[in-house]
């Protein structure tokens, strides 16, 4: 088994054939002392579905629509869903769109809040053979497939494949077949049918990540490294635009916003490397695009938490959530329209283009400053150290009486530190920098939730003033909003009580020593 295989879901091995004629040769070669049960042919059209970030694929699962059936394959087990879904526009997008049952539960656990998107479709004509033992028990399945791959309107590509699928408990027989095929010099393909099909149309399965994935070298010039980081962030923004515009799911906007915030953070690193004018120009631009998406994101969060909020409220207050959510849904539609027109606006397009142009200018261009050539490791250490010290100092000043605003300031500072750590992750020993990030994340979660509670209470207060207390529906909603506000307030108090423990860990001797070890020098 090759390692790519382990992660790729079904346990089949695939072989690429140079021509359909290879089939007879293989059957003749494989047949000795194994019985091949009679042929059966199957023509099939399959559409593979996955989330934008290929969560199913990464989790070793494969979802396909075969005729009217949805089939989820995961590490050898197969789940068939033949009943249709309840979505109105004829296509299930979220796990909730499938009928209750194990299939839906399996999907929920992996795709969570992401939508399913058709990734690639294949038409295959398969001839199947069962390799059977002396009891006529199937021990290996073989299928010769001619597959035609099509991806969203692009041209079709034909591939000839042989799939060998194992049966549990018959590993020896499977290995034997694989050995025989390898012995015949048949080329084994990496991955599963999904990644092979994507590969045929020039795509790579599982290649999107919202994380900063650049690999830096310690002595790389700072200017180059920064452009790599910023370039990868710009790519993330661009990849998510379409999903935001089409309103596929809420994660597109979320990833987009994180990339924007990271970009703004990375811009604070360019002093002495690129001219201040560059920073000033784009900082304003990215701040604006971030700000313009705030409303939409806040409302998305509300919609995502509907179930949680319902459970938070005593049953008597729940009916009031309906009308409240009607307002939120309406506002969200408007916010979405507004932000989509921002993305389409000339000014946004122009600045993104200018930004891309700047990032693509070759190293040594005249607008670079002297520090541009300094090794990135020095920049990374110095700036991370500074951020950590600042965060520790801000946190130490907080006490019981500190206003929410000061917690917010620390939250922002921690975010910046987190981004710096992530930008430069590849320069440091993986386990140590991951430990630093983990501790920071625990503090961030506390601060993030705290801030969330604050923002949501404010918004709910706003809704109360919009409701009509003279109408029954209005009164119900006011009561529901009031109930939520008090629940959120209680949770906020709990979080504040927890804050000190989290901060102690973050600013304690162990973390200090770790930061010292990783980021001191220069």
């Amino acid at each position: 088994m090759n390692p790519a295989k382990e992660a790729s879901g079904d346990k089949s091995e695939y072989f690429v054939l140079s021509s359909p004629g290879d089939r007879e040769v293989i059957l003749a070669g494989i047949g000795s002392n194994l019985t091949l049960a009679p042929d059966s042919s199957r023509d099939m059209e399959r559409v593979f579905l996955d989330t934008f970030d290929h969560r199913l694929y990464r989790n070793g699962q494969l979802l396909s629509k075969e005729g009217e059936r949805y089939v989820l394959r995961s590490s050898g087990t197969e789940m068939d869903l033949s009943s249709p879904y309840s979505d109105t526009d004829g296509r299930p997008r979220f796990w909730q769109d499938f009928p209750d049952g194990p299939f839906r539960e399996a999907l929920r656990q992996v795709i969570d809040i992401r939508a399913l998107v058709p990734q690639v479709s294949i038409r295959s004509a398969a001839t199947r053979h069962n390799v059977v033992n002396e009891d006529e028990k199937t021990v290996v399945h073989l299928a010769f497939e001619e597959i035609e791959v099509a991806e969203n309107g692009s041209g079709k590509v034909t591939v000839h494949l042989l799939e060998a699928a194992p049966v549990r408990g018959y590993a020896d027989e499977f290995d034997d077949i694989i050995r025989r095929l390898a012995g015949m010099g048949i080329e084994r393909a990496d991955g599963n049918i999904f990644s092979i099909a994507l590969g045929a149309v020039g795509k790579t399965a599982g290649d999107y990540s919202s994380k900063v994935t650049v690999r830096l070298e310690p002595d790389m010039p700072s200017g180059d490294a920064l452009k790599m980081i910023l370039g990868s962030l710009l790519e993330t923004m661009r990849k998510n635009e379409e999903g935001i515009i089409k309103d596929i799911d809420t994660e597109f906007l979320h990833d987009f916003r994180v990339a924007v915030r990271r970009t703004r953070s990375a811009l604070t690193l360019i002093r002495g490397i690129f001219p201040e004018s560059v920073k000033e120009e784009f900082k304003t631009e990215f701040a604006a695009i971030g700000r313009k998406s705030n409303e939409l994101r806040d409302l998305d969060i509300y919609l995502l938490r509907r179930e949680r909020y319902t459970e938070m409220l005593p049953p008597a207050l729940r009916p009031g959530l309906g009308p409240l959510y009607d307002i939120i849904a309406r506002e969200r539609e408007e916010a979405h329209e507004g932000f989509v027109s921002e993305l389409a606006s000339g000014s946004y397009r122009r600045s993104i283009e200018a930004w891309g142009k700047f990032l693509n200018e070759p190293a040594g261009a005249e607008d670079e400053l002297p520090d541009s050539g300094a090794p990135v490791i020095d920049l990374a250490k110095k700036r991370i150290r500074k951020r950590y010290r600042k965060a520790v100092k801000l946190g130490k000043d907080l006490d019981e009486s500190s206003p929410d605003r000061d917690f917010h300031t620390l939250r922002i500072e921690c975010k910046k530190l987190r981004y710096y750590l992530e930008f430069f992750e590849s320069l440091f020993p993986a386990d140590e920098i991951k430990a630093a990030i983990r501790h920071l994340k625990q503090l961030q979660d506390n601060l993030g939730d705290y801030n969330d509670m604050h923002v949501q209470q404010e918004r709910l207060k706003g809704y109360i003033s919009k409701m009509d207390p003279a109408a029954e529906e209005g009164r119900d909603s006011i009561a529901a909003a009031g109930g939520l506000i008090s629940e959120l307030y209680l949770k906020q108090k709990e979080l504040r009580a927890e804050f000190h423990a989290r901060f102690e860990e973050f600013s304690g001797d162990d973390m200090k020593a770790l930061f010292e070890k990783l980021f001191s020098g220069n």
Partner: protein
């Protein structure tokens, strides 16, 4: 994982036929299903054309652990695996006897696969023995096929007495009529009597039919090779009833 036993003190009442077909139906419905053949005769293993590996035996089975995982075999159907039995299972009682918590041993053995399957079906040997008591402890539900004859009903009464005496939860017990010949007035009378007694009796009756008998020739569940037959429909109805009882019935 929900564990269902197909159990009867009496032999030849349609336990294996039920276990094979019901487990197939569960798997076809999308549930990850394991059928464990506890009968040394190995009929359900035979129906699925599966032989246990040579090194596997009753003492390894009761010891449990990784050996279980290694000996589970895939049937020819998706989602359906089988743990085959060996002739040495005739000594299962001896293997269990003298072990610590000897009545809870199988429960522990099956805990190995709890997360891997939604349903575990136990195809049990006849008799009332230490193996049976292990089955009672390991199962969430025990389904007893009942031929509507006086003798069969008497045996069922004995089982109920045994449950009462040993303080097993009789609420786990469900009977269903098996090998029913509606032409026989005796069958009809006994079924009416039992059904009016207010016990846990399922509504679906499995008829006596030759296509069920013929499973031994085809070596496939009748629900798979003749999915549109009367027998297959009856098993499907029985499965729907069981699915509702086991708490997964509200789904789908």
């Amino acid at each position: 994982m929900i564990t269902l036993a197909l159990y009867s003190m009496k032999g030849g009442v349609g336990k294996t036929a039920a276990a094979v077909n019901l487990s197939y139906l569960a798997s076809a419905g999308g549930y990850r299903t394991l059928i464990c053949d506890l009968d040394p005769q190995g009929a359900s293993s035979y129906y699925f054309r599966i032989k246990a590996s040579r090194s596997f035996n009753s003492s390894k089975f009761v010891k449990g652990g990784r050996i279980i995982d290694e000996n589970i075999k895939g049937t020819d159907y998706p989602n359906l695996d089988l743990l085959p039995s060996k002739l040495s299972y005739r000594n299962l009682d001896i293997a269990l006897d003298g072990m610590k918590k000897s009545k809870f041993r199988l429960k522990r053995v099956f805990s190995e696969v709890t997360h891997e399957y939604d349903y575990l079906f136990l195809d049990c040997p006849p008799g009332i023995s230490l193996v049976s008591e292990n089955v009672f402890n390991a199962s969430d539900f025990i389904f007893v096929p009942l031929i509507p004859t006086t003798l069969s009903v008497m045996t069922y009464e004995k089982l109920l007495d045994f449950f009462a005496k040993k303080e097993y939860d009789a609420g786990k017990l469900y009977a269903f009529f098996s090998m029913v010949e509606t032409k026989k007035s005796l069958h009809r009378e006994i079924m009416e009597k039992i059904e009016s007694d207010g016990r846990n009796v399922l509504r679906t009756h499995i008829p006596y039919r030759s296509d069920i008998e013929r499973m031994g020739v085809y070596r496939e569940p009748v629900t798979a090779y003749l999915p549109h037959s009367e027998s297959a429909h009856t098993y499907a109805e029985l499965w729907e009833e069981m699915r509702a009882i086991t708490g997964k019935g509200a789904e789908g």
